[in-house]
Symmetry: C2
Subunit: 559 residues, 2 copies
């Protein structure tokens, strides 16, 4: 057997780039971009003058400049209330759609969060739903008339699905991603598919098809990734609920950086049928999951209830028939949480530490149990998960990139250098990583039982949203992908403030990645207004309790 020595931050070597070949794809990219641009309909668009902005601007509320008070009220209504208002006839699907269409258009104009806009189709769908309601007096399902945004890489029948890979720019989906189909059957209205980075493996957004997306709260910063556009559009109220996917932080980083809720559920609860990705075959050592982004904790619950209520296991045998249980909302004093102030690899920056302490103090003040979690195993687990990502020796990703010769971004090269980079793992090496994973799953659960806590409160990333194209350390999120403990990211209501959050220049980096990352937070001024968000983690499979607890913790912290 080849001795197993995973390299932590390896070197990317083989070249898949081919400028001449890529040249032949440029006209297709132009067509794609032109279609995206033409998706901005005049009737919904922001006037150009409103869009003028300086780097670092806060554009999160720019849509308000064109929304009527009624429209503003609609986009401010939580999804679980909105569906009731439509179901009761107080609002029409078209009214709801038009408020979100305007807002989504503004969000795209301000941040470049869309890959595809099809507002006419959305309007038509809303009209049909209203007609159905008028004819029958009934809704088609529990999401009747709810505008939902979708990350681009879910198969959408009849539309191109490329997963941010240029070579796939003309690949039309023949089937629906099953999860999207469940939303459709429940009455959702689709009108936007949002952006994601090349390789789907950045905590950022850049790709060769539609370029970068920026953070609505500070356009100098990243919205996060890989569900980049979902973070931006949900924060800007351009959809009632967004759908992201996460194998290392791809729902949670955008949710955190953009200041909204994001749920990474335990695996095998939501169907993954027909999601596009480049990795060869289906590995099981670490698996991606789909999940919602939203502005209200209760809307995570609504999303899960609808998805699981559709009994996806009846046609997808990989999904476990665990019903979405109705659990009670815990009393504030019954919350029991351990706090991670440092994962031992990359120390959190001052704004994040401020957020953690603020939340811990608020929790203690209401009588909740708050203890400290002494981190263990993070470096080993992050090494392991990084090896799992690239178990195929990058064959899938590289073949996909080589097919168009597209240039690779620095963060793509970073992701391709994870683990053993281009050297494929042996199955037995992956089995040993899985054994490590299993041991830590037990140890983490045992530690929670020993500490007598139900939840773990931690950073989502070591800092607030970083500048575009810089984030390389995913440990605060990928830890939970390998352990498969579910997480909810929530905003604390705090923002990065230059007066309070000056960089800590005294901290001595403990390793190379900390040296790199810690230096990224070089000036509080540049990060001004970035949301301070936290991540609440629950026990594996107990997503229901976690979602309810996250809502309560959020309320306690905001109070």
């Amino acid at each position: 057997m080849t001795q197993f020595r995973p390299t932590y931050y390896g070197k990317y070597t083989n070249n898949t780039e081919d400028p001449a070949l890529f040249e032949t794809f440029k006209p297709k990219i132009e067509v794609y971009r032109a279609k995206l641009a033409s998706g901005i309909l005049d009737k919904y668009a922001l006037p150009k003058e409103v869009l003028v902005q300086d780097p670092g601007s806060d554009v999160a509320r720019v849509a308000e400049k064109v929304l009527t008070p009624n429209e503003l009220a609609i986009v401010d209504t939580p999804a679980h209330q909105l569906v009731k208002q439509v179901a009761s006839g107080r609002l029409s699907a078209v009214q709801v759609f038009e408020a979100f269409a305007k807002t989504a258009t503004a969000a795209h104009q301000a941040t470049n969060c869309a890959m595809e806009l099809f507002l006419d189709e959305g309007l038509k769908r809303a009209q049909e739903l209203d007609e159905y309601y008028k004819q029958t007096g009934k809704t088609v399902g529990p999401l009747h008339g709810l505008p939902i945004s979708l990350k681009e890489h879910y198969a959408f029948k009849g539309k191109v699905t490329h997963g941010a890979t240029v070579a796939n720019i003309e690949s039309v989906s023949q089937e629906w991603c099953s999860l999207v189909k469940i939303l459709l059957d429940a009455g959702a209205v689709f009108y936007i598919r949002t952006t994601e980075p090349q390789s789907l493996m950045h905590l950022c957004s850049n790709n060769n098809i539609t370029g970068k997306c920026c953070n609505p709260h500070n356009t100098r910063l990243t919205p996060g990734g890989s569900s980049s556009g979902e973070g931006a559009i949900v924060a800007m109220k351009g959809s009632a609920i967004g759908v992201g996917s996460d194998i290392g932080g791809s729902i949670r980083a955008p949710a955190a950086f953009c200041g909204v809720f994001g749920l990474r559920p335990t695996q095998k609860r939501l169907t993954m049928q027909n999601c596009t990705a480049n990795i060869v075959g289906v590995g099981e050592a670490v698996v991606p999951v789909l999940g919602p982004l939203a502005r209200h904790a209760e809307d995570l619950d609504l999303f899960m209830k609808v998805q699981i209520g559709a009994k996806p296991w009846e046609t997808d045998p990989s999904i476990i028939p665990l019903p979405w249980r109705e659990v009670s909302v815990p009393a504030p004093k019954d919350i029991r949480v351990a706090v991670i102030y440092d994962d031992g690899v990359v120390k959190p920056t001052p704004p994040i530490l401020r957020g953690l302490k603020y939340a811990a103090d608020k929790l203690k003040a209401v009588g909740a149990k708050v203890v400290e979690w002494e981190s263990f195993g993070v470096e080993e687990l992050v090494k392991a998960v990084n090896c799992m990502y690239n178990a195929d020796g990058n064959q899938g990703q590289k073949a996909a990139f080589a097919a168009s010769g597209e240039p690779l971004f620095a963060l793509t090269k970073n992701a391709l250098s994870f683990g053993k980079a281009d050297q494929p793992l042996l199955a037995v090496e992956e089995h040993l990583l899985v054994q490590t994973r299993e041991e830590y799953r037990e140890r983490y659960l045992r530690k929670m039982l020993e500490l007598d806590v139900d939840y773990i409160l931690s950073p989502t990333y070591f800092s607030v949203a970083p500048k575009l194209e810089t984030a390389r350390y995913w440990g605060y999120t990928s830890l939970w992908n390998i352990l498969d403990f579910p997480n909810v990211v929530f905003p604390t209501g705090l923002r990065c403030e230059p007066a309070l959050d000056a960089p800590d220049n005294l901290h001595k980096p403990r390793n190379d990645i900390e040296a790199y990352e810690y230096a990224l937070y070089d000036s509080a001024e540049d990060f001004k207004n970035a949301p301070i968000s936290l991540q609440l983690t629950g026990k594996r499979w107990f997503d229901e309790e976690l979602v309810k607890a996250a809502g309560v913790v959020h309320q306690i912290v905001l109070a």
Copy 2:
């Protein structure tokens, strides 16, 4: 990437045998055997004269020669009723234990089914349980006083656990196998650990520690494997319930060959913590499961209810918190089943075809829906699962054998030659196999939906119990290990009869493995009295419905 070309029945090459080294282990084996022999207590033993037997004898009821009518009534009582009788005080734990102790001793004397007998400990435990009941008027749990047999390779605190590997012959378990501990906490009485083959990968029983076990219904035949001793002891009524494990047929082949019930549950419902095996690391492409063998369908239900009722997920995060649901018993006319008469690789022999037709006719007669299943994908799936077994290039098994230099049996070499044999798989190769597996899981489920059936009725093995040391084709069972659809094996009440089951000499083998296997059934006379058993398969995760349906189907077939 190395091109993936799995070899179906490869060649075993590297030698781990070392006669000189093995010589040093022989004294330890003698000690082990002597301890086993001394475990046969005079007070429970069969007189020697009773044991005289010819090859091919039926020894299944030999214990009856020494049991009192009361003792016979006890071992004939289903486990779920026995626990009620003990709980109500009608029977004491000691009374129950002594009936099973006599029977188990006879079973071992007749078949060599035990690896370890510790009847004194069992008696002491039963006495303590009676004392507890006397003092408190309560039982310790739902299995209070129930004698349960255990396959040897589950960690048993304070006892040697070797998994039939000579090198481990002095390895004392420091912890309990979690599933065994749940039984203990529920009140089970342990007194026997049963035999299993070298490598745990034969459908037979031979090992270098305690040798062969034989089939109680015909001592020329195998009891099956790898839960060999469990098949024999449960058939001989030497335990109320037995615990086996299965990654390719290891619960189901012994259950079928010995004519009892066996359940292979869907994975991740019962805890696997602390089971010994030689395979390196934890692979997930195909995973072993534990499960019960019993003489009554309701006892499978009892076992599952107790295991899952213990909420193993509270300390084992790999276990899914799916409660064991109480489901209703289906009416005979509501059973809907597709029948596999041939898997397309190895045609069933005349007794098995007779059993299938008999069952199908009985089912039709009560108004059940019976359609034919046209097999598809079996060869590809069996190739895939064979590659998964040896994904580590046999490193784990070979290292374990090399540590004692023990001789390898032909069936061990057969198992080591599966898939790519000594050539380790790449992780990406395993991922592609997993992708194939996922596709077929969907296709099999879709086919069930199309045919509008809930269950699949099939052979467990292409024939009745084969002669010792001959079985090499596991496809009828391993198909369901890779697909992870749960199965119950049940007896039809029929036996192999020379007058009815003459070999079919006209069938032309379609491939090498069929040529080998089909020739094994060379004379109905040699297989006389072998039970004809069938396998009922349900939908993934729906073990509850399957167990109930298997009970109903069994009753219909017996009627």
